[in-house]
Subunit: 272 residues, 2 copies
């Protein structure tokens, strides 16, 4: 089901700036056991994205009502996607003075990942690099060609994720997930300041770790730190925490270790 500005529909105008320039933001939420998980955090990031892009979005209340409408018609656990664009028109890149933002809500079946992903996945290193742009880093905007190109590098379903470096050889994230390493019992994750998306689940996991008295550091990571990590895992709102047990590009393996296990169990025990 798709709601566009609250109405059932499945098409948008060609003139919409979401298509023309990728001029908008999106969120991908899990609807599980009748709940939109981490809804407030997702909406907060959506608003941050609008603020960073200068999109005047005043319909948060409408959006919440429309999400409720969508979920009321969604029987099973689903993925809910929100797209918000600046709307139609303008002269070239210049937006109209008062554009009407477009709200697109859609529900999708949960991806059919095998259960054993929760015990450990295989990943690869992508050739495609992430460019650097502090102004766009962190937010979940619609300019996602780097991820598309990275994800096009492999077709083997036994590889569940690809790790991405920026153009300065720093590890940033997976194509659809954030990255964590465990070293000396502490959690390390790359800062999302020049590239990457600051995941809602990333923030939740960092919060959870601190509650569990696991030290957390946002710090520059390279392949050297990956090689010396004791445990590795990736996160997003749909998969939650997937331990990484093999890098098919380097052949290196890691165990599904105690810190990852502790965080995964704590997360699964929570009502998000």
């Amino acid at each position: 089901m798709i709601l566009i500005n609250g109405q059932p529909d499945n098409r948008i105008p060609v003139s919409d700036r979401g298509l023309q320039y990728g001029d908008g933001v999106f969120e991908t939420l899990a609807f599980r056991d009748g709940e939109l998980e981490l809804l407030d955090a997702h909406l907060a990031r959506l608003m941050l994205g609008c603020e960073r892009l200068g999109i005047a979005f005043h319909e948060a209340d409408k959006l919440r009502l429309e999400l409720a409408t969508l979920c009321a018609q969604t029987a099973e656990d689903s993925v809910i996607k929100i797209i918000l664009t600046r709307g139609a028109g303008g002269r070239g890149y210049k937006a109209p003075a008062e554009p009407e933002t477009l709200r697109i809500l859609s529900s999708h079946s949960m991806p059919d990942y095998p259960d054993n992903c929760l015990s450990g996945i295989h990943v690869r290193q992508c050739q495609q690099r992430l460019g650097l742009n502090p102004a766009l880093a962190g937010i979940k905007h619609l300019n996602r060609l780097e991820q598309v190109l990275a994800r096009s590098e492999w077709d083997d379903d036994s590889i569940r994720e690809g790790l991405m470096l920026d153009i300065n050889d720093r590890l940033v994230e997976g194509t659809m997930s954030n990255l964590f390493l465990v070293r000396d019992g502490a959690l390390l994750t790359p800062p999302i300041s020049d590239a990457g998306i600051a995941g809602v689940m990333r923030a939740k996991v960092m919060e959870l770790a601190r509650e569990q008295h696991i030290p957390v550091f946002e710090t520059v990571l390279t392949l050297a730190e990956l090689a010396s990590a004791e445990e590795v895992f990736v996160t997003n709102s749909i998969i939650q925490i997937w331990p990484v047990i093999l890098n098919t590009s380097s052949g290196q393996s890691w165990p599904f270790g105690p810190v990852t296990h502790q965080l995964q169990s704590a997360l699964q025990a929570m009502r998000l």
Copy 2:
């Protein structure tokens, strides 16, 4: 008028990857005096973009026919825009095995730039920087948030263009144009290797300059070179060549000098 895959229409499916990820390319051509100017060069860049993004596009002949249909119904000089997306669907960033590319052709009235733009324009320096990504540099893809943000920095119509630096302080281009400096009678323009769009008009002007025995160098340029330039101009397929006579950010001015004049006259005398 809009043609979508050859049919008159003005809406596209929400599931199209052009909207979802900016997964596509575009071209903006001038239709002047009954001619689609520099059509072959535009189509060549479109194909290069498809190749770089891994979009299998085999409908170039159809596209040419559809352009002819569109132009046959276009009485006045117009801007013709081609958007080509990878098509609909896929699982997240991963594209379907055989996606159906979407062709969107549209005609628009020529922007009403005053004639005196041809004698010189005012520009400003944008705060928004261009990120670096060699894999995406050069092609005219649909991920254009940097240009949107740069263009949103000013509202004063007397400023016709904004100059953009990359995150390493190198001059790259204007928000909608390429940049040329004249020094010691030679033409200098930034290489488009890490950021920016390699404009069709940029290539035409470089070719024309060489024919006129004006030396041309693609070379790294900074604000220092801008400050010491004898002449400055910007180019694109719609405006052709606009001399830059004032940088409102620095207060510096340049004359509408002889090299710019020579190239502009030569271009205007050509049938493109």
